[in-house]
């Protein structure tokens, strides 16, 4: 019920909200999509993927290459599918990698794609950047909202299904999971692919807002870390944790950048470190702790 109201309020917002609010909401939705789709794979399986920037960047480049040749909805879907295919390939290659090796491989992927494209664009295509045809603000917003809705439905159906339970068991004990007959390999690869699909979609849409892109913008390594940090900031214990984390984080970023343009990144870093040190369960975990303490105290008094 709450969900429906939130979606309705968001869907009608272009009617009453200012242009600035719509742009801000699109950014927030983009971060939410990235962080929720990151958590979809990495939350239950506990594999920390630093590849979001790669999938996001593939989406961006799909929009840049095909933007003038095909209608926009097709371009966006192709962006998602391209990311999906890349993720399936990477997933199949990295089956044996665990822990920190998986982290390093996924981060290496981002850097490899960026450096390769830098060289390729300059030496083969003789350009540095590309222009993406732009869409108007409310179209970008509605597309983001649509992706968000589809993503939330996917997450909702996975969570309590047999599929979701099996995914959870991989994170708890991968070997035991494979012994009780779960096809660990296929499950990991498909989920990784689906999460990359949504990141690719988000990338293709955001490209239309930036209008000019180059490999350094499209494959910015910071985009790999942000979904991870936002999800952890919100709390991985509950499905709405990454949503809250991403929403507050992006709003905070926007607020800091306008109020303290010079100290913005510094304050951001400090908040990050403090959150990791003092809120290991994220905002959701913090809220639960406070609630538990309150209940215990009331219990003790009565």
């Amino acid at each position: 019920m709450v969900w429906l109201l939130v979606m309705l309020a968001l869907a009608l917002s272009p009617l009453y909200a200012s242009r600035y609010t719509i742009i801000l909401l699109s950014t927030i939705l983009m971060n939410v999509v990235l962080s929720v789709s990151w958590a979809m794979f990495s939350g239950p399986t506990k594999y920390i993927s630093l590849a979001p920037a790669a999938f996001f960047g593939v989406g961006i480049y799909s929009a840049a290459v095909l933007g003038t040749k095909l209608p926009m909805p097709a371009v966006i879907v192709i962006g998602g599918l391209a990311s999906f295919c890349l993720a399936i390939l990477v997933g199949a290659l990295t089956l044996r990698l665990r822990g920190i090796y998986f982290v390093m491989f996924t981060f290496g992927l981002v850097e490899l794609l960026m450096h390769f494209l830098l060289w390729f664009e300059l030496n083969i295509n003789d350009t540095t950047g590309r222009v993406v045809p732009s869409l108007d603000n409310s179209t970008v917003f509605y597309l983001m909202l649509l992706i968000f809705a589809v993503l939330m439905l996917t997450v909702y159906f996975i969570k309590d299904s047999k599929f979701g339970m099996a995914l959870q068991s991989i994170g708890e004990n991968e070997e035991a999971a494979s012994h009780i007959g779960i096809n660990v390999t296929a499950l990991k690869i498909v989920t990784f692919g689906v999460s990359a699909f949504f990141m690719g979609l988000a990338g293709a849409i955001m490209a239309t807002r930036w209008t000019y892109i180059d490999p350094k913008i499209a494959f910015n390594p910071v985009i790999s870390f942000m979904p991870v940090l936002m999800a952890i900031f919100g709390g991985m214990g509950r499905p709405y944790g990454p949503i809250i984390g991403a929403a507050i984080f992006s709003y905070l970023g926007e607020f800091l950048i306008t109020k303290f343009p010079y100290y913005y990144m510094l304050i951001f870093g400090i908040i990050l470190v403090v959150a990791i040190l003092y809120m290991p369960g994220g905002l959701v975990g913090l809220a639960q702790n406070i609630r538990n303490q309150y209940l215990r105290r009331r219990h003790a008094h009565s």
């Binding site: 491989f105 290496g108 992927l109 830098l118 060289w119 100290y263 990791i276 040190l277 290991p280």
Partner: protein
């Protein structure tokens, strides 16, 4: 033709010495303290800026400033481990969870250090000229400062290796690397040793920063590229192995200089291809078991 080969070889060795030195520090930090320090390059940048500042404002010889950048950054590293990382280590439910959370904390640290540096020194590229005289060796030409850099890099690696092999502290560090719980039971003050270890890793980064500033321009955002190179080297040489980092660094330097000779824009691409192939085929590194 022969001169070209010599040129490429020497350029590779000069580059490789730096790569080895920046990797040794990261290898220590990950191999013993289990912190994959994404902010490693930021310590390199700090070392470089300390040297640049004292040379530009006080005229202190860059080589003498090694005695300044090393200790200052050691203290920063030691302090960071004793406060931040030891807390993360305490609250982490499993060692794997600590590796994840400490890496993310390092990412926050990267932002903090980089932006403090921008506030202090500005975002522009800076440089100074020191020993930029050309040396001619059997037809191959290179700047004298690069030779100084390589010399110091090798000396630091060797001294550090001897320190680990022969001193009491070194033995405690190696014991902690093998099995920190057992070493703790044998009377090693684990928290102190790990903090020292992280401090030494940061110190190596600071020293290499000073050396790098002699032959390359410096900039507050230069860190991440060096971090990535150090990461590639330690995967090449095996995570946690000091000799592996040294040899891995030299190999990567040679590869870099050969690729640069063939197609200048592709050296980073080649590094990442090697890195990822290695992770897939032999994640324990070339010399790992």
């Amino acid at each position: 033709m022969l001169v070209t080969i010599l040129d490429v070889l020497i350029a590779g060795l000069l580059l490789g010495g730096i790569y080895a030195l920046i990797a040794v520090g990261l290898s220590m930090q990950y191999g013993v303290a289990r912190v994959l320090n994404i902010a490693h390059g930021e310590f390199i940048m700090l070392g470089a800026f300390i040297t640049w500042s004292v040379y530009t404002y006080c005229g202190i010889n860059p080589i003498l400033s090694l005695a300044l950048s090393g200790p200052i950054i050691f203290v920063i590293g030691f302090f960071l481990y004793s406060t931040m990382f030891s807390r993360l280590r305490r609250i982490a439910p499993t060692p794997e969870a600590f590796e994840g959370s400490s890496m993310l904390a390092c990412f926050g640290l990267l932002f903090i250090i980089q932006n403090l540096a921008i506030l202090i020194w500005g975002a522009d590229m800076k440089g100074y000229s020191y020993l930029a005289v050309p040396i001619n060796f059997a037809g191959a030409k290179f700047a004298a400062n690069r030779l100084v850099t390589l010399g110091f890099a090798l000396v630091f690696c060797i001294v550090f290796y001897l320190f680990l092999a022969h001193t009491r502290m070194g033995k405690a560090i190696r014991a902690a690397a093998q099995d920190s719980a057992a070493a703790g039971l044998m009377g090693v003050n684990i928290k102190h040793v790990l903090a020292m270890c992280f401090g030494f890793g940061a110190m190596m980064a600071g020293l290499s920063g000073t050396l790098i500033s002699m032959s390359y321009n410096v900039q507050p955002t230069m860190g991440l590229e060096y971090t990535m190179i150090a990461l590639i080297v330690i995967v090449l040489g095996g995570l946690g192995s000091i000799t592996g980092s040294l040899i891995g660094g030299l190999i990567l330097g040679l590869i870099g200089s050969i690729v640069t000779y063939i197609e200048p824009g592709l050296s980073m691409v080649a590094y990442y291809v090697i890195f990822m192939l290695l992770l897939l085929a032999k994640p324990t590194g070339l010399f790992g078991k």
